[in-house]
Amino acid sequence: MKTVFFKAGNAGYFLNEVKTMIRLNVFSTTLTILSTGLIFYILAMILSGWWVSSYVIKVVQGEAEINVYLNEGIVNSTPEVQLMMERINGIEGVRAVRLVNQEEAYQRMAEVLGKEAKVLEKFEENPFSAFVELKINLEAIDSVLDQLNQLVGVEHIRDNRDVLDRLRHIAGVLRLIGILVVVAVGISTLVIISHIIRLGIANNKEQINTLRLLGAPERFIALPFLLEGLVLTLGGGILAVALAAFSLNYLYAQLAGPLPFIPLPPREGLVAGMGIVVLSLSAVLGIVGSLLGLPSVKND
């Protein structure tokens, strides 16, 4: 006959046990929640940073485009420009070719600058030159660039490989830091929680012993401690997610004004995703931390 104790009536009992344990140790409980909260906050911010940079890379990559500036002599001759565009279009990997004339180039920059576009008015004539804009297959970028370089009449090629490389580097660093932080967060949370659980068990030795003498199964005895660990880390996790959501809102507001062209992921999605990851991680760490502390129940 298997003993059932996961019944509705006992839920109240287990929660009450947790409440009592917390009530008897308000100070250490608060400190634990605050410190795990701080740890999870750092994790949440690094994760968000990594997430944002990955998103930006994806968007920038998707828009992989190359701008080809032609020699002075050719730009002003429509047939020659036409010829150049046909040649470029013939390169394998090029999907579309379009001429951005001086006027459009000026408008684009004005758009990017937004309010600051006034500086452009200081120029007496349009300082931008026309260029050929091409959309390419990303995989072919190296060979396309090679062939463009060999074309006569090309003065200068601008591609976003540099930007992409730099972004990739940032994302890589953030991912590395992220992994290190996850490991550090994991270890420190496990150490803190298992220690707290061990303390709780030491404080409740008599009660545990009495329950054993009454024939209570080990799982029944252990469950409140497991719940306690979960409450502590989830408390820290919720605190961290709230703080991180607040910080992200602030950062988004700061970035949206001066840098409107950075393709940030939607804020709600970012916050929700970060919240889910941090909360699940905190739950898992709480349970594992408690499980690590539990064996001390056994040696009485």
């Binding site: 003993t3 019944k7 509705a8 009536g9 009992y13 009592t20 003498l213 009454l214 024939g215």
Partner: protein, 224 residues
């Protein structure tokens, strides 16, 4: 089923104290057994063996069919769920109410929430502590704590009640009440074993068995 079957049981503590020497004892359902003897004679040690808190260092012991040897964790845990222990020092859980303490002994048994509450209520009624149901146990008098401990032991409807000095520190009237209360749980399927050093309280009229412990040895004083 035999309640207790002890043959040549000895208990020697690691420090060398021989608490029990060559104990033979047979307890069957319906038995009311008093274990008497001076302090330090081995009464508590005997009950500890019956609950699997200590194990015989030699001899053989069976409690409700369970062989009492080290390593029988699951069997002994199950055995403990059908025993109603009343500890000499009560072992109530501070910070909890009387009702919570009584229910604690039943939470991990196969009982519904309704049965749990009914059993607790009934037991508290029986020991006359309904009016203290919601008091914290640390605010109770000695005698009240004693009765909560008994209520917790009997509420789960055990087969075997083991009460260690349940009359200790009580005046004669209260002590007699407690003994009468414990006796009332006897039926043809249960047995009660009570340790006491107050032999004068044992009612000569009522059927019971009395054994006497002396420096770890057992002698029969009355066989029923």
């Amino acid at each position: 089923m035999t309640m207790i079957e002890a043959k040549g049981v000895c208990l020697r503590f690691p420090n060398g104290t021989k608490a029990l020497k060559d104990i033979d004892l047979f307890v069957k359902p319906g038995d009311m057994v008093y274990v008497t003897g001076p302090s330090g004679s081995g009464k508590t040690s005997l009950l500890k063996l019956f609950m699997g808190i200590e194990y015989p260092t030699s001899g053989s012991l069976k409690v409700l069919g369970q062989t009492m040897i080290q390593g029988q964790t699951a069997g002994i845990r199950r055995l403990r769920t059908i025993i109603g222990p009343v500890f000499q020092e009560f072992k109530l859980i501070d910070g909890r109410t009387v009702t919570e303490n009584v229910m604690l002994g039943m939470r991990f048994l196969n009982l519904t929430q309704d049965q749990l509450m009914e059993n607790a209520h009934h037991a508290l009624q029986k020991v006359g502590l309904e009016h203290k149901a919601h008091s914290l146990v640390e605010n109770l008098s000695w005698g009240e704590s004693q009765r909560v401990a008994i209520a917790r032991a009997v509420a789960r409807k055990p087969v075997l009640i083991l009460a260690d000095e349940p009359t200790g520190n009580l005046d004669k009237a209260n002590a007699l009440n407690i003994l009468e209360l414990l006796t009332s749980f006897i039926n043809d399927q249960t047995a009660v074993i009570i340790t006491t050093h107050a032999t004068h309280l044992i009612d000569a009229e009522k059927p019971c068995k009395v054994i006497r412990m002396d420096q770890g040895s057992l002698t029969w004083e009355r066989l029923g």
